[in-house]
């Protein structure tokens, strides 16, 4: 405050002996201080934003191990991973063949079946429709499986094939494949 008063008081008579220079220095200080303050504030916001990201206890539950031995050929099971359903299917040879044959079909989100299943007889996918997050039907016997014998989302009518690829409807992407790894022939770790 006192600076301002001083500068305006000395402004007119001191213009000849470097008064203008004083203005520039003051401008620089003001700009530098404001910029420093703004950058500091931006850094201070980050902890608030990041605190809303998944916390350590949520992340700790982010991988599970599944015993595959009780799943018969042609059977589909659902396991819970990160609060979301994961579809595991023990595919029959006929289903694998159908999926491979469709590799060349006109796909909405082109992907080869061998890129979607590390071991062709085991299809492991996140069971969340890529449209708006509904759970597609087809896991239980008697539920509609859609036109390609895979899954069908009842919310807005998306059809997925035996490789979990989107074939028809508003969903833009195939059912996502989670990170997973076979620990043995009958145990898989998801996440």
């Amino acid at each position: 405050m006192s600076d301002t008063v001083e500068s305006s008081a000395s402004g007119a008579p001191g213009a000849a002996d470097g008064g203008e220079e004083g203005e520039t220095r003051r401008d620089f200080l003001l700009l530098a201080t404001t910029a420093f303050g703004a950058v500091g504030a931006a850094f201070a916001i980050w902890p608030f934003v990041d605190s809303m990201n998944p916390s350590a206890d949520v992340l700790a539950l982010s991988s599970i191990e599944v015993d595959l031995s009780p799943i018969a050929k042609g059977q589909r099971i659902t396991v819970k991973w990160r609060g979301a359903p994961v579809f595991i299917e023990h595919r029959t040879q006929a289903q694998i063949d159908a999926a491979r044959k469709d590799d060349k079909a006109d796909l909405i989100d082109p992907q080869l079946d061998k890129d979607r299943a590390k071991r062709p007889e085991w299809l492991i996918m996140v069971g969340i429709c890529t449209h708006l997050g509904c759970i597609p039907l087809g896991q239980k016997s008697g539920q509609p499986k859609g036109e390609w014998g895979g899954w069908f989302c009842p919310c807005h009518g998306s059809h997925y094939d035996t490789s979990g690829r989107i074939r028809k409807g508003p969903a833009p992407k195939n059912l996502p494949i989670p990170e997973y790894e076979f620990l043995s022939d009958t145990v898989v770790r998801i996440g």
């Binding site: 809303m52 949520v58 982010s62 708006l132 509904c134 009842p154 919310c155 807005h156 833009p172």
Partner: protein
Amino acid sequence: MTVSEWPKQAVSWFDERLPVFTFMQHELNEYPTPRNLSYWWNFGSLAGIVLVVMIATGIVLAMHYTPHVDMAYDSIEQRIMRDVNYGWLMRYVHLNGASMFFLLVYIHLFRGLYYGSYKAPREVLWWLGIILLLLMMMTAFMGYVLPWGQMSFWAATVITNLFSAIPLIGDQIVTWLWGGFAVGNPTLNRFYSLHYLMPFVIVGVVMLHLVALHMHGSNNPLGIDRKEERDSIPFHPYYTIKDALGLGVFFIVFAVFVFFAPNFLGEAENYVRANPFQTPAEIVPDWYFLPYYAILRSITFDIWFIPAKLIGVTAMFGSLMLLFALPWLDTSKVRSARFRPIYKQVYWVFVVDCLVLGWVGANRPEGHILIIGQVATAYYFLHFLVLMPLIGWFEKPRPLPDSISKAVLERPAPPAEAGTGGAE
């Protein structure tokens, strides 16, 4: 001084230190208001009163509610609805109050559209109103999630998934919103925190809305500025009594819902506990979101490389963002539709269009309903982007009266006015 004088002295003592009495005298008692406001001008103050009711009931409900995925449903259905004294009343008033709030605000908004209340010099007042509507929508959505029923859970899933349509960082944003990898306990907790915060933000913006309103005062059914002394009357007692009568009528309607049909406006599915592994056969939002939902679901086609999902989300948010530009999209200098023969008709077509969108939003987007939704969506944007600018340009408005008092006090033949006034 005599005993009868000292309350006056006390008031002026206080007023010199904090001018609340001067403020009230100025903004309520003396505040000049157009003499011709109709009952369509009741809805702003009614909405303000419902906001107070929502905050009052909400604070009490928060004392009994438990924001945890395992306990939220029971804390409402068991404790608040059955065990807490008058908990059922607080809950049903809060539940139906949300619907009433939107009903009042929508009428308030369409009143503004008809009488051109958004035009100069009230553009910022109009903006603040749209901001209030957006804040209300966020608050209502997060409140709807708190009971943790099936619709709560799946509405939260579908709405937060809208953000995944954002290119490149969409998925990270959704994870950040959830605080996990699906809608879960962290999501419920933050929605509860924000649902409690937002109403107070709304109160703040309402204050700004009122400051902006009091700069130029209310618009009026004739849409012309006040020119003479006799064009205005003081707000109190003329409009305090008019608002009070409207409030009485409104509370009757509100009470009918609360006491006789408390779940009429809700979804039965939300009385089923949230199950992340089973999607309900149909996910439907509350009625006040249906038109936007219809716009979202009408976009089933890609345009070039832009996926349908992104276009749908953009169209839905765009339908509201468009309102910010309305003061400039409407090129007519005349405010009130009473003097705009063509806009007056187009206005009602637009009202019907919004109702059709609402109806489409409540139904599955298949077959002819999808087509109707797409046509109604296209018309919604056509109305604002094409018709509003064009009509203002070629329409020949009827002559405006010289002043409010001339039009109101010296009207030539009452039957003619009744003919045009009926629909307004």
